[in-house]
């Protein structure tokens, strides 16, 4: 249909330009302040110095970035697999839901900073860091997917019951349950699952950083968070800032990618992915 080929509304351009202008102005003010007041680099490095440090220290920082990125993405992937699988399991049976869900909540509300030292004792370091990323990313996916699975349209489920015949045996009942899950509950859960994933992407990075910091004091890790701690000890503030910039960029990229994914998956049918009318 012709209606679907909507032109980009004007304000989507301003949504890029306005923050860009604010960003450039802030950086310029920062640079100007550092230069004019002669602030020493170990207190506040100028943006230009941060950029040159980023370039100069790239060999060290890129390795660290890769480590953190790997942990984050692996944590997110495992959280998606585990969260969705558990949500499916819990949605198939109330008994399972009631007996397991509280523990997932308990795991979530315990601050990950407090768990990470323990994990570091029990597990090899990479695994412990990954586990931390997983723990924090897991819950939003679980709870959002569960909510989505449960919010399938009741009338559609009735239609399903009406047309799918009368399941007699336990096995047929299970088959029909799974079919309803696949045809109705799963698509209905997609929007909230994707919301969960957007949140989980950011949280996974936080989990990875927290665990790296906890592990960093043990002195083996080489992730970005460890580089930040190390730079702090050595008072290498420009490098600290450079690592911070990389972390921020990583978070932004993860957010943009998960948002784009979500928009792509929902573009035809969900209100959240609709362009406003031009």
């Amino acid at each position: 249909m012709s209606e679907t080929a909507r032109t980009q509304p004007k304000h989507s351009a301003s949504r890029i330009w306005l923050p860009a202008i604010v960003f450039v102005a802030a950086i310029a003010a920062w640079e100007a302040y550092v230069r004019m007041a002669g602030v020493p680099a170990y207190i506040l490095p100028a943006p230009s110095l941060i950029v040159t440090t980023l370039v100069a220290d790239w060999p060290v920082l890129s390795v660290a970035l890769l480590v953190t990125l790997k942990t984050t993405l692996a944590g997110l992937a495992l959280a998606v697999i585990g969260g969705v699988a558990l949500a499916l399991l819990l949605s198939l049976s109330r008994v399972v839901e009631y007996s397991i869900y509280p523990f997932a909540v308990a795991l979530q509300v315990t601050p990950v900073v407090a768990i990470s030292p323990l994990l570091l004792i029990y597990m090899p370091q990479e695994i412990a860091v990954l586990a931390c990323a997983w723990i924090v990313a897991f819950f939003p996916i679980l709870s959002n997917t569960m909510l989505g699975l449960q919010s399938a349209d009741r009338n559609l489920l009735d239609l399903f019951a009406l047309y799918s015949g009368n399941p007699m045996t336990l096995r047929q009942r299970l088959a029909s349950r799974l079919k309803a899950l696949w045809l109705l509950r799963f698509p209905a859960a997609l929007p909230s699952f994707l919301t969960g994933m957007k949140i989980a992407g950011g949280l996974s990075l936080i989990g990875a950083v927290v665990a790296e910091m906890a592990a960093g004091s043990a002195g083996v890790s080489s992730g970005l968070a460890y580089r930040i701690i190390e730079s702090q000890y050595r008072l290498n503030i420009p490098r600290l800032f450079a690592a911070l910039v990389l972390l921020a960029l990583t978070g932004i990229v993860i957010f943009l990618v998960t948002s784009a994914l979500s928009r792509l998956a929902l573009r035809h049918w969900h209100e959240s992915a609709m362009e406003p009318e031009a």
Binding site: M1, E3, T4, D153, N155, L156, D158, L159, F160, A161, L162, Y163, S164, G165, N166, K179, L183, L184, P187, A188, L190, H268, W269, H270, E271, M274
Partner: protein
């Protein structure tokens, strides 16, 4: 009270005898509900909000079980009749993630018909409800009336013997409603199915029905049935006719009397 002038020529498709429904929370929605649904008739259930009209449709569809009384199909076997039923809800309840064609395919799909096999039937039904060219559109892109048409098309996809419609046009404007009323009558002629139509509207029920069953407030039962004494061909002229006005008046009277009946007393 208007006599129940049920033509006794055909044996009923479905007969409900003393049907009662009490929900788990103790609320009695229906009690002693008696009704015969005759083959190929258009029967409206007319009654105030909350009197149990939707509950009756769910019982007929086998989506819930009566707590008392019986519900029997003409072929007298306790077989599963769900495949012979089309159900249209008050709102379109389409799958927003699926195209119009896939929504219409849904019942067929559950019966194991592949999209390829169903393709020509889906096309036929869509053109029957006046939606040619919209097969690939998504529900979001349609108007309320068009979504309702998709919902009707979905209900028709299995060529049901019995079409249950739960206030399908209640949320639509009058112009669209009139249009869909006419389309529904035409579809009924083409498909020759039985229709049980739930409505709040006296005018709609008179325009559409062969017979109207007026219900009492909760717990609901049939206070009276009335045969609509008018030719089956109905159009704008019928809507403007004196017969129509008179019939609407009669139905309103019956409804007014049913409203002061003690619900459930029988």
């Amino acid at each position: 009270m208007a006599a129940s002038l049920q033509p006794q020529s055909a044996s009923p498709l479905v007969s409900l005898r003393g049907v009662g429904k009490t929900f788990a929370n103790g609320l009695t929605a229906l009690s002693a509900f008696d009704l015969d649904i005759l083959p190929c008739e258009f029967i409206s259930l007319l009654g105030p909000s909350g009197c149990g009209k939707s509950t009756i449709l769910r019982l007929i569809a086998g989506l819930s079980e009566p707590t008392s009384g019986s519900l029997a199909w003409s072929d007298a076997t306790p077989a599963d009749h769900r495949s012979e039923i089309g159900y249209v809800f008050q709102d379109p309840t389409l799958m927003p993630w699926a195209s119009v064609a896939d929504n219409v395919w849904f019942p067929l799909r559950l019966r194991g018909v592949s999209k390829r096999e169903a393709a020509s039937r889906i096309d036929d039904i869509l053109s029957m409800v006046g939606l040619d060219g919209f097969a690939r559109a998504y529900p979001r892109e349609l108007s309320g009336g068009m979504r309702m048409r998709v919902s009707i098309a979905r209900a028709l996809s299995l060529r049901p013997k019995l079409l249950l419609m739960d206030e399908p046009f209640a949320a639509l404007d009058e112009i669209t409603r009139f249009k869909l009323n006419d389309d529904l009558l035409r579809l009924k002629r083409e498909l020759d199915c039985t229709i049980v139509f739930v409505t709040h509207s006296v005018y709609e029920s008179v325009y559409l029905s062969d017979r109207i069953a007026v219900m009492t407030p909760r717990p609901g039962h049939v206070a009276a049935t009335m045969t609509v004494d008018a030719p089956r061909e109905r159009d704008a002229r019928f809507r403007a006719s004196a017969t129509y006005a008179k019939l609407c008046g009669q139905v309103s009277d019956i409804l007014a009397r049913a409203m002061i009946l003690p619900g459930g007393a029988s």
